[in-house]
Every structure is written in structure tokens, then in C-alpha cells.
């Protein structure tokens, strides 16, 4: 959302509107300008769209059909029935018109044909609108196709990063050593029944808690925590905190970008100061994890 700073007494509404429109333009076309999309829609449809679904020559065909099928319209006014280029004949017709009207009333006929003429004209006027609608639809479909393609790529990229994070988290857990005197670490189940028996009977609740801790360790990343380790603040599209607590569903494109950029620099998710998930679960646990080595410099 647009943010304006009002520094002086003079407010230029036109300037504000220009800023708002620029902002909207920015949001709409991050990768492609209107001209580029138009060009793509005209030339390279098959590259983005399924050619079986939308024909790239749709507009051209529509135009050709329209030109071929448009019949000429006619004008029908009150005087059309009696018109002639011969002055004398026109005079005689005008003279005899009252007599003609004794036999039948031409007014409904004139009115009907007049309306028909209007309808024809309206239909002809609508045709360009249909063309415009189809044209815009093709453009929007192209734009959506591009967006879908981009989003697919982003989803793939994010899922590969997530996999990488999980693998890294598991690797980190494997290389930490524990202080002497600390309670022996909980080993991941190896599939044998001995270790389970050696630790004594384990309740379902303990097992579930341990699994939950593992899942959390695997998921958390430093960039997901706000200042002081709290949740990240809700931001608006400009990256500024919304003081009124307004949230926007579906917005936050910048947030996503920010997160994905931050996610590329992986920091160890277990640090000496990290109270760890045990505090969250309310248990006292003096097992402090100390990394043997820092696998990579943490995010600055």
C-alpha cells in the first residue's frame, strides 16, 4: 500500500494520485510492461499457452469474420416511405398521404422499422466492444499464463530450499556434542526394540512431545523470528509496519520476496542462547546443545 509523507501545508492531490498510480503500475507489472504483454499476446502465444485451448490467431479470425458478415444497415425515418428525388412526385405523395392513411396506418410499421434500424446500429456498435473484450481476454490470459509459470517456478524453488533446510538441520543435529554430565541425548529410533526398552517405558505423550520438538527444530529459521525472537511483525506491502494493525490477505508480495531472499543464507538454527523448544513445552531441560563447529557463518 502506498505511504505518503505530508511534510508541508501544501498538499498536491494530483501528485498523490500520480504516486498512487505509479504504485499500482508497479504492482501490476513487475516483470512485463503493458507493451511487452501486448507483444507476447500477439506473437508468442504458443510459447506460454496451450495452443489447443486458446488460438493465437483468435483476434485475426474474429476481425475477418466480422468484416465478412456485416450487412449494410438502413436508415428509417418518418418520411422514408414517402421519399423521392422527384419534386413533383414528392408533392403528390404528400397531398395523397391523408388519403393513404384512410386505408391503413403506416405509423406502427414506420416505428418498428425505425427501431429495427436502431437495433442494427446498436449491434454494429457492440461488435467493436466484443472485439475489445476478446482482445483484453487474450491479453489477460497471457498475463495469467506468465504469472502461473512464474509462480510455479517460485514454488519449485521454495520447495527445494525447504528440502535443503531440512537436510541441513538434520546434519547439524548429527554433529553437535553434549556437555559432560548432561543427560544422554535422545537418539532417534533406529527401528530396534532394545533402545526403547533401555530408556524404560515411554508414554505416548512423551513420544509425541519429542516428535514435535524435532519437527520444530527442522522448521525454524532465524529470518522467521522477529526482533527478540518473537513472531515477525505484520508488514504492509511497502515493508513498513502498519500502525493501525491492518492486514491484507493475499498481499505481502514483498514479504515473500524478503523471506525467500533471507532464506538463501542459512544460519544454524540451534544457538547457545536459544532456549530451545523444551521451554516452550514447559519442561526444565539442562541439555545445552553446543555446536562443535559453526558450519557456515550466520546471516549478518
Amino acid at each position: 500500500m502506498t505511504d505518503f509523507s505530508v511534510r508541508s501545508d501544501n498538499v498536491d492531490v494530483e501528485q498523490i494520485m500520480r504516486q498512487i498510480r505509479a504504485r499500482i503500475r508497479e504492482k501490476r507489472g513487475v516483470d512485463y510492461t503493458e507493451e511487452e504483454i501486448r507483444e507476447l499476446a500477439n506473437v508468442k502465444l504458443e510459447k506460454f499457452l496451450d495452443p489447443r485451448g486458446v488460438r493465437s490467431d483468435l483476434l485475426e479470425q474474429f476481425r475477418r469474420k466480422r468484416e465478412a458478415s456485416l450487412p449494410p444497415n438502413f436508415k428509417f425515418e418518418d418520411s422514408t416511405l414517402f421519399e423521392t428525388h422527384r419534386g413533383l412526385l414528392a408533392f403528390i405523395r404528400r397531398l395523397l398521404r391523408p388519403i393513404l392513411k384512410l386505408f391503413f396506418n403506416p405509423n406502427p410499421l414506420i416505428e418498428a422499422l425505425h427501431i429495427q434500424s436502431k437495433l442494427n446500429a446498436q449491434q454494429a456498435a457492440l461488435e467493436p466492444l466484443y472485439y475489445e473484450v476478446i482482445h483484453n481476454l487474450v491479453l489477460e490470459t497471457t498475463r495469467l499464463g506468465i504469472d502461473v509459470k512464474n509462480l510455479k517456478m517460485r514454488v519449485e524453488s521454495m520447495s527445494s530450499r525447504l528440502d535443503f533446510d531440512e537436510r541441513r538441520a538434520r546434519a547439524l543435529e548429527g554433529v553437535v556434542q553434549y556437555r559432560p554430565g548432561a543427560v544422554p541425548p535422545l537418539q532417534p529410533p533406529t527401528g530396534g526394540g532394545e533402545s526403547r526398552e533401555a530408556r524404560g517405558p515411554e508414554t505416548a505423550e512423551q513420544s509425541e512431545r519429542r516428535n514435535r520438538r524435532r519437527r520444530r527444530r527442522g522448521r525454524r529459521r532465524p529470518d522467521e523470528r522477529g526482533p527478540g525472537g518473537g513472531p515477525a511483525p505484520m508488514r504492509n506491502g511497502t515493508g513498513q509496519s502498519d500502525s493501525r494493525g491492518l492486514t491484507r490477505d493475499g498481499g505481502g508480495e514483498a514479504d515473500n520476496q524478503q523471506q525467500s531472499e533471507a532464506g538463501s543464507a542459512i544460519a544454524p538454527d540451534v544457538t547457545p542462547n536459544d532456549p530451545g523448544p523444551t521451554q516452550e513445552s514447559g519442561q526444565s531441560d539442562d541439555r545445552r546443545l553446543t555446536p562443535v563447529h559453526s558450519p557456515e557463518p550466520s546471516e549478518s
Binding site: 498538499v11 492531490v13 494530483e14 500502525s243 491492518l246 493475499g250
Partner: protein, 441 residues
């Protein structure tokens, strides 16, 4: 000084824009002159049916002389003639027939104006497009001041109105955009004119909390005041607001004041309060964060002026030239033309406190400088003085242009009025400085 105010309908219970405008002006000018209102017996602006007795009565201390309308409007005939003059090549006779069909046709009213003219200093004719204003201006041009209340519709493209605008003594415009449109259509630049508008009865104090308590509205809200009608842009407003509400779950509510002639979406954040007395209306505006004006066609939005008077910014439909121009000149409102702009501007007004406050202050200043009653009255009185000075100096005026003979009137040589309108430049009236408050001179 003796003045007559001629308007198509008149009464304390008539709240139509031009009619209310006329009543306010008549009541205000009555403090400076002997004012008589000349009107019809009609109450309904669609049929012009005679519903009030003819003769003299008093409304809020103003003498009102009513004349019967000779025929009601036939919607079929009027529609047919409208199509003809707006969309087809036609003749001057067609346009005159259209005017007669539109009504309110009251020849007795015109005769009275002609008879009374020698005893009057000036006659204020409201609403250029109606029978009484056109015939009145042609019959007594030397006394006629026109208050056109023109909107951007096809009627302004009709040829019969050119001589009227060029023949009257002066034109009292509602806005710069209206003046630009009329001058472009009729080339009446030589006729004295001033952008005046109309004031409003703003209460000395408002009670926002009382409004909130009475209607049980606790959350911040935007307000719309007026008839809830598709022609007023309400359908688009609802579409946009519903999308906005879905996007901003904690954003503003929308409060609607006015009678509804279209269905209103059922939504927890849309509150329709129906028609409300003036006290509630002003308290509601004072309680709101901003006023939304979604109308496409306005010659002057009184409710926007009222919002500005109370220090509330306005979010207007940018496709209405007048509203857009006023937002720019006053620097007291933003405008939108599509959903993205609606969402951004509404969000900006909702969330940016300094901007909101500055626009509100500008609105109050704008109203104080241009639309308080002393300012409005002074503009009218100055114009009367100027015209009297012109009379005293004996400056000659050209007579109202003739409409031609029988054959000339029936020559089909007039362009469709919609084509003429399309050729008239649109948009906010050009201004050098967006915050220039001295334009309305």
C-alpha cells in the same frame, strides 16, 4: 431590489438538487431583496402532475406563485424524441418538441414572467434544460440570469440552448467544469459569468458520539449520503467496497444514509440507516473518517461541501469532472477511477493520519473561502451590481438570436447531441496550482 426565482418545482419537502439549490438561494437573497418564487404546481419530476394548488402560498416566509402544468410527460413520446435528438440528425423543430415533451410545460408561468418583468430587477432561472428556463430566457432576456445546474449529459449538445446561454444577462455557474463545458458547447464567453455554487446550513456544532450511540456504530467508517441508486454510482461503490472489505478485514466500515432504490449487499461492514434528519446526517459526517461520493454526474455535490465544512476529506469518483476538479482545487480529497485506485486511496485516507488531517483542514478552508453563505450572497449581489452598472451606462446588448422561419426550423441539419457532447473536452478544469483556492472568483 425585486427579484424573481423561477424553478420547475418548489417546496420545503422537495430535496432535488436544483430545487433545493433554488430554495436556499431564494431564502438567502430574501435578506437583501424582495424575492418572489415562480414555480409550477408539480411535485413529481417525472410526470409533472399538478399536485399543488395554483396561486400564491408562502414557504419559509418566501412568497411562492404557482402555475399549472398544461400536460404531463408522456414517457414513451419523450423517450422517442430523446432518441431522435440525442442520437440522430434532426431539426430545430425536433428539439423544441423534445423540450415541450420534457416539460414542465406551463405557458401561464412564462406569460406571468413577461408581464412581471418590468417591475422586477432580475429573474433567476434555474435548470437550463427545462421548459420554463428556455422560454423564460427567450421571453425576458434583459432580466434573465441563468443558474444552469448542467451536468455532462447529451442535452447540453442541443442547438436550441446556444442562443439561450448567449442571450441571458449572466450565468451563475456551479463549478469551473460546468463553466468550461457550457462555454465549449455554446461559446458564450462574452456573457458575464461567475462560479458560485451554493452554501449549506452547517450546524454550529455536531455530536459524533450521539450518532455512534444512536446507531450502535463503534468502528471507524466511511460514509455515503444521498439516494442509493445505480445512477449515483452506488453499484460500483458496493462492488469496490466488498472487494476492499475482503482485502482489509480490519478496515473501515461503510455507513449509508439515504433512501435506497436498489438492493444493498448484506455485509456486516455495510450499515444502511435509511433517510435521516439533517441533525443525524451532520453528526454522521462528523463521526465518519471520510465521505465517499461515487456519482458519475454532478454539477455540484452539496454533500461533499458539507463534508468539507465539517473537516472530513472526500473520496470521489474521478470520472465525474466536477468532483475531480473540486478535489484538486480544494486539495481536500482524493479520487478513483477503478478498483485499484479505490483501494489505494481509501487505504491512504484510512491509514495516513497526517494526510487525512491535512485534507480535512484544506476542506474546511475551501468551504470557508468559497461556500459560506456570506460569500455566496456577495457573489450574487456583486453580479446584480455589475449588471445594474451596465444598464446605467446604457451598454447595448444584442437581442436573443432568432430560431429562423418555419422551413429553417424543419431542416434536418442538426448533429446528434451525443456527438456534440463527445466533442466537448472533459476532465477537471485546468488549473495552474492544485491548491489554488482563489480560482472561484
Amino acid at each position: 431590489m425585486k427579484l424573481a426565482v423561477a424553478v420547475q418545482r418548489y417546496g420545503a419537502d422537495i430535496n432535488g438538487g436544483a430545487e433545493l439549490h433554488a430554495r436556499y438561494i431564494a431564502e438567502r437573497l430574501a435578506r437583501h431583496a424582495d424575492v418572489e418564487v415562480v414555480s409550477t404546481c408539480a411535485r413529481d419530476y417525472v410526470t409533472w402532475k399538478n399536485e399543488r394548488p395554483s396561486g400564491i402560498e408562502h414557504v419559509n416566509g418566501i412568497r411562492v406563485r404557482r402555475f399549472p402544468v398544461v400536460h404531463q410527460r408522456d414517457p414513451y413520446h419523450f423517450g422517442r424524441l430523446s432518441r431522435r435528438v440525442f442520437d440522430q440528425s434532426h431539426s430545430l423543430a425536433d428539439e423544441i418538441a423534445w423540450l415541450d415533451s420534457e416539460g414542465p410545460a406551463s405557458p401561464a408561468m412564462i406569460d406571468y414572467l413577461e408581464q412581471a418583468a418590468p417591475k422586477l430587477d432580475f429573474i433567476l432561472l434555474f435548470s437550463y434544460r427545462y421548459y420554463h428556463a428556455w422560454h423564460g430566457a427567450r421571453r425576458v432576456p434583459s432580466k434573465a440570469l441563468l443558474v444552469p445546474t448542467a451536468e455532462r449529459d447529451s442535452a447540453i449538445g442541443l442547438g436550441i440552448f446556444g442562443p439561450t446561454f448567449r442571450g441571458v444577462r449572466a450565468v451563475m455557474y456551479n463549478s469551473h467544469e460546468e463553466r468550461a463545458m457550457i462555454q465549449a458547447a455554446t461559446h458564450n464567453e462574452q456573457v458575464p459569468g461567475v462560479v458560485v455554487g451554493v452554501g449549506s446550513e452547517i450546524p454550529a456544532s455536531t455530536n459524533a458520539e450521539r450518532f455512534r450511540r444512536k446507531h450502535n456504530i463503534r468502528k471507524p467508517f466511511a460514509i455515503y449520503v444521498g439516494r442509493i441508486d445505480e445512477n449515483k454510482g452506488c453499484k460500483e461503490l458496493f462492488d469496490f467496497f466488498l472487494r476492499y472489505a475482503a482485502t482489509f478485514p480490519k478496515g473501515l466500515d461503510l455507513v449509508l444514509i439515504g433512501s435506497a432504490i436498489m438492493s444493498i449487499p448484506q455485509h456486516p461492514r455495510i450499515h444502511h440507516l435509511g433517510f435521516q434528519p439533517d441533525e443525524d446526517k451532520f453528526d454522521g459526517i462528523a463521526a465518519s473518517d471520510l465521505l465517499i461520493m461515487p456519482s458519475y454526474f454532478e454539477s455540484l455535490s452539496m454533500v461533499a461541501l458539507e463534508a468539507w465544512a465539517l473537516g472530513r476529506p472526500v473520496l470521489a469518483n474521478g470520472r465525474c469532472d466536477v468532483l475531480k476538479g473540486q478535489c484538486i482545487r480544494s486539495a481536500a480529497g482524493l479520487y478513483y477511477e477503478r478498483y485499484e485506485e479505490f483501494a489505494e486511496t481509501l487505504y491512504a485516507l484510512e491509514s495516513n493520519g497526517p494526510l487525512h488531517a491535512r485534507l480535512g483542514r484544506n476542506g474546511r478552508d475551501y468551504f470557508t473561502q468559497h461556500y459560506t453563505w456570506p460569500v455566496i450572497e456577495r457573489k450574487y449581489l456583486d453580479m446584480f451590481d455589475r449588471l445594474k452598472r451596465d444598464d446605467a451606462t446604457g451598454s447595448t446588448r444584442a437581442p436573443v438570436e432568432s430560431l429562423g422561419g418555419w422551413f429553417a426550423r424543419r431542416r434536418t441539419d442538426r448533429r446528434p447531441a451525443s456527438d456534440v457532447l463527445a466533442g466537448i473536452p472533459s476532465g477537471a478544469a485546468p488549473t495552474g496550482n492544485s491548491n489554488n483556492l482563489s480560482r472561484s472568483a
